[in-house]
């Protein structure tokens, strides 16, 4: 048995926290570098870069990616210092998974029908492979398992903000 009896939740949070920090750092870098670059390329290939709505969305995504990368860097350093907040990993997981979903959704929309003709992802690809429709479908593997977005929001509300239990 790992940790004291009946303290499974706390033990799980501790191990998840350690794992989450470094995992999220890598995922944020992948999404923010190659992921965003390929998204811009998809917009260019679709002839959509001149569209002001598209440009606006890309600017918003770039801003959100900056926030994500700053959050994940802080998550790793605060965990290392033993100073993580009780809802930190939930905040990062929620933010990353929903950003991934919105970016892959937007990329699928901009790419149009050609995105539907890509039926395989490269074996080594990450959550943002450029096979946008498959990436979008895959993004639900982030927003549902590992504590769904709804559960993460409850954790943030109760443990992070101290709001009363529902």
């Amino acid at each position: 048995m790992v940790g004291p009896e009946n303290a499974g939740w706390q033990v799980a949070q501790e191990t998840l926290g350690a794992e989450r920090g470094l995992t999220m750092l890598e995922l944020a870098e992948r999404l923010g570098n190659a992921g965003f670059r390929w998204l811009v390329e998809a917009c260019r290939d679709a002839g959509a870069l001149g569209d002001s709505l598209v440009a606006d969305r890309l600017a918003a995504f770039e801003t959100e990616i900056s926030a994500l990368r700053s959050m994940t860097a802080r998550l790793v350093s605060s965990h290392h210092a033993g100073a993580s907040g009780p809802a930190d990993t939930s905040i990062v997981k929620l933010y990353y998974s929903e950003l991934l979903q919105r970016m892959t959704d937007f990329a699928t929309e901009v790419s149009g029908l050609p995105a539907h003709a890509i039926r395989r992802k490269p074996a080594s690809s990450g959550w943002e492979s450029g096979a946008w429709l498959l990436d979008f479908i895959g993004s639900w593997e982030w927003t549902i398992p590992g504590g769904s977005s709804e559960i993460q929001r409850t954790i943030i509300a109760e443990r992070g903000l101290g709001l009363p239990r529902g």
Partner: protein
């Protein structure tokens, strides 16, 4: 309930039943009278309107049916009905009603991709529904004067190539249609050709919308049924507001 509403209810119930068959296809639909719904009665059709076809399309969406009804029964028939009456058109309409012919319309993004050099057609367009199941193609093109026309070409004609274009959604059968100097017969639209071509695109859009509606209704129903049946933490998950909120949003849209 108005007379039409009753008729549509009946049609909907029959359609739902017919679509329970293991591999519903063109022959089944011809037998049910669906391929000839809009074909005039004197050409062995039912002589009804798109409103009735819309009922069928919604049920096909609900069943996520994998058929060539959209390309041929809906777009093909719609294309033929938009043409100047004539023996070639009437013969095709009749054969569609009986199920003998499967004329798939190649409407694409409009007549732009295809042009004519005398009687020879050239051009290429992607993502055409059901072209691979066609016995003949009705290709929207511009003639030598730039006027939108329909070029009727049997499948297998020299210079015409239809290649299946698989997509992630395995219930759709799309294809790339390429013509390279293929010979076909030119059929003219009744009335203003630009307007007629525009209406074909509208028809395609509405048909997809009907299909999507049926699909969404089926998904909403299944989600609600699951939320009522699935239990967690000692109660149906639908009783947790976070689980039940998306359903009313979906329903009101």
């Amino acid at each position: 309930m108005s007379e039409f509403a009753e008729l549509h209810e009946e049609l909907r119930a029959v359609a739902r039943d017919v679509l329970k068959a293991p591999a519903p296809g063109w022959d089944l639909f011809a037998g049910a009278g669906w391929t000839g719904l809009e074909v005039p009665e004197d050409l062995e059709g039912a002589g009804v309107s798109f409103a009735e076809v819309a009922v069928i399309l919604r049920e096909m969406g609900r069943a996520a049916a994998r058929t060539e009804y959209l390309g041929a029964g809906v777009l093909g028939v719609g294309t033929l009905l938009a043409l100047e009456p004539g023996p070639e058109r009437d013969d095709l309409l009749q054969k569609t009603a009986t199920g003998e012919a499967v004329p798939v319309a190649v409407v694409g993004p409009g007549p732009g991709p295809f042009g004519m050099n005398e009687t020879r057609l050239s051009g290429r367009v992607e993502f055409i529904p059901d072209a691979a199941a066609a016995s003949r193609l009705l290709i929207l093109a511009r003639d030598t004067r730039g006027e939108p026309v329909i070029v009727d070409i049997p499948t297998g004609t020299a210079g015409l190539r239809v290649e299946a274009q698989p997509v992630v959604d395995e219930t759709r059968r799309l294809a790339v249609v390429t013509a390279d100097g293929a010979e076909g017969s030119v059929l003219r639209f009744a009335g203003d050709p630009e307007a007629a071509a525009g209406r074909l695109l509208d028809r395609a859009a509405v048909a997809i919308a009907c299909d999507s509606l049926g699909l969404m209704e089926a998904m909403l129903e299944r989600t609600v049924a699951y939320a009522k049946a699935r239990q967690q933490f000692g109660r149906p998950i639908g009783s947790f507001r976070r689980c039940s909120t998306p359903a009313p949003t979906c329903s009101s849209r």
